[in-house]
Amino acid sequence: MCLAVPMKIVEIRADGKGVAELEGSRHIVDLSLVSGARLGVYVIVHAGFAIETLDQEEADATLALFAEIVQSAAEDKVAQ
């Protein structure tokens, strides 16, 4: 019920709503609940509403941590 997916804003309409894209499909999204919704920003969409913006720096930091975990496991293997 609380599923929400990241979608990229590709258009801001005259009425303030956004058009957001996920894997090629476009959806009209209510942007009234988020600050900083601009073109190119990812928003988390639930039941037609953006409930938050996605912080790309934080996402990249988490992915970098995941990459480190894989890297250090590979080094452990070599060291054995």
Binding site: M1, C2, L3, A4, V5, P6, K8, L22, E23, D30, S32, L33, V34, S35, Y42, I44, H46, A47, G48, F49, I51, E52, L54, D55, Q56, E58, A59, A61, T62, L63, F66, A67, I69, V70, A73
Partner: protein
Amino acid sequence: MNYIDAFRDPDVAVQFVRLIAEQGRALAAQGRRVHIMEVCGSHTMAIGRYGIRELLPENVELISGPGCPVCVTDPGYIDAAIALAGQGAILATFGDMIRVPGSESDLTRCRSAGGDVRVCYSPSAAVEIAQSHPDREVVFLAIGFETTIVPVVSIVDEALHAGVRNVSLLTAFKLVPPALHALLADKEIKIDAYLCPAHVSAVIGSQAYEPFAADYHVPCVVAGFEPLDILYGVHGILGQVLKNEARVDNQYARVVRPGGNPKAQARIAQYLEPADAVWRGIGVIPASGLGLRPAFAAYDAERKFGTPVRVGRQHAGCRCGDVIKGKLRPTACPLFAKVCTPDRPVGPCMVSAEGTCAAYFKYTLRDERQGGGK
């Protein structure tokens, strides 16, 4: 980059499973078992879909919590909705509610008997239905946790701005933190840590869980719904447990801010106020729900039509209440997969796509039959 696939990378998953296995051995050396409650139904589904329960050490158990808003809706709520349909109202609802059992009937049977029940993907559709049927009353079945409450209460916002008066909400909103309090206060339930919901937390903020860490010494980790988010969350929880620490860690910082979403909180506060709520299987939890403020009584179906929601009656053998509280695994319910199946559900945990029983039926039943489950 779509910020989905990167969080499903199997190479990273393998490493997390290995790290968690090491933690499991360290815990076993201390003779410890860890019960982690995943609060949210979307976590329950993801855990089932990706087989995460089977990837964890034997002494690390994931217990499903009360985080499916459909499952915790009392039968009396369905009874009230059916009564409103009987008075000629159009019922607009999320699809999950269609087969939830009331005391005597459900919305599917209500529709077969001539009731006008319409499924909406976005709550905004309720306002559109009201506009295209100015001579009818439209009642939206307003259920949900914090995530869903905001879009649903926006119906009132939209209706006020558009001058639409023939739409109203039958509210049964639920709040996550009061339920988490109630579960920790119940000594029969063993919870060592909370895997906190992703998008409820986007609204309320990770700070909302501070009391559970501080007062109950229960580690709380906010995690996203992708498989790597969940494994990372379990790893983070076990790290705290091994050091006997209890704090709130926000591991879904790409979406969740410490204080949550102030605009969403403001919209909730504008239209809604705290109310006692009935949870199926748990009973009344004080101030665990939200109702419309008196100023918006014209949009409150209970007040508008004088049809109060009363506590309903559930199937005598149904153990959904114990499943919701994490006291009983679905497979231990005598009705599970025998009398109660997704095709003929007896209890709401089997109805909802995110219900614990539906998740077990879909993803783990075959394993257990083949002796592959734990």
